[in-house]
Symmetry: C2
Subunit: 239 residues, 2 copies
């Protein structure tokens, strides 16, 4: 089994790919699943998202430049969902950056959304599905490497190595592991990310704190056959 | 002052750029300067390198797949030069990978070659030259991120931060710093690089050991006005 990390969307992985956008798309996805949401669809364009919500009745969440959009049911903040029970509902996540990352891995046999909050569950589901390789794809921000995503990749890599110590690590995977194992710890490392600063300035400090709670959720969004950006909640076979 | 790291050649930096190919081009460049070599020219093609050597009398060193080429004065091993005095001579380094990285930063106002062995000197010369930004450009290997180069970038970044603590770090620079400051230490981290394994298999273990001797050389190769890939030795103003 090979484990690789792409610091930005690239490389056309063919077996298991995990898209990581810690601040905040994939953390929000995990938070929604944790509150009972059954299905998620990732959409880039606002018009397409509004139309899909109108025709399917799915709840619509999203952001532009970190802030909620008018006409949506909510923004892209994971903590805004923590008191809601979405039992078996469907949601649309409208986010340019996360959507681009999902679109960048069209040929992956299996696609998961990964974050720090569900790192262990992602590692387990990825190992259950993979036959040859797992590729952790960091979303980055507009083509620039994001520390928060590389940290997320490192947290997932660390759980994969713990379950399967003989996995073959690429140099990039080793770098991500060093970031996750930095003496400062996951919380302080996430806080050091440029994007964490930007979110704090917008009043979303609680999101950054939530996003650093490693493996606090035992659910993963997995792409279904219903569409290239349609995901459903799965739990690892071994909890 | 901004400090950024490119994990692979990209981004078109405009102020000070430092190309890093720790195993082995930029380490060998520093070793040659340390033995008195005055000028270096980086050339990609074998035929061009042989012709330039014949017309200028410059010594010719290089590799293909890690091994010396026939008709050359030596390979790309830094330790093979340690007993030679090259007082004021010129050399051509023929290396595809390093050459590509140099070609990828054509618009940098100043271009340096950096390695772990001259990290402190590179940091000082870069800070002397820079007005806005320093970009550490990792050569990688055929488009794949190399741990050895990111470690080299982290060692140079660490020296820059030590000299100028208020430098603004990109997320990528922070990641490189975490790699350089990993508890395992520089030697063990370099040994973990895929390229270090490959060199050991080829019999070049001494090169890997040499390449990890942080700031053992106080010289830097700096691009001159004589050509896009022509370098001369400089020493930091403050030793």
């Amino acid at each position: 089994m090979k484990l690789d990390v792409a610091f930005l969307p690239a490389g056309d992985p063919r077996d298991v790919a995990v898209v990581i956008d810690v601040l905040r798309m994939t953390t929000t996805a995990a938070a929604l699943l944790g509150r009972g949401m059954r299905r998620l669809t990732i959409v880039a364009g606002t018009d397409e998202a509004l139309e899909l919500s109108a025709t399917t009745g799915a709840l619509l969440f999203g952001e532009r430049n970190g802030l909620p959009l008018p006409g949506f049911h909510g923004g892209n903040s994971p903590v805004e969902h923590l008191d809601t029970d979405y039992g078996e509902q469907s949601a649309i996540l409208c986010t340019t950056n996360g959507s681009k990352a999902v679109e960048a891995v069209p040929n992956a046999r299996h696609l998961l959304l990964g974050a720090i909050v569900n790192a262990r569950a992602v590692a387990r589901v990825a190992l259950e599905l993979a036959t040859e390789s797992i590729t952790l794809v960091c979303a980055g921000t507009d083509g620039v490497v994001s520390l928060d995503d590389v940290l997320g990749a490192g947290c997932i890599a660390s759980e994969i190595v713990a379950s399967q110590p003989d996995v073959r690590l690429s140099d990039a995977a080793k770098i991500a592991l060093m970031v996750a194992r930095a003496p400062a710890g996951i919380g302080a490392t996430l806080t050091a990310a440029h994007h964490a600063d930007a979110l704090r300035d917008l009043g979303f400090a609680a999101d950054v704190e939530f996003a650093a709670r490693a493996s606090s959720l035992n659910l993963v969004a997995r792409r279904t056959s219903r569409g290239p950006a349609a995901f459903e909640a799965v739990v690892p076979a071994v909890g």
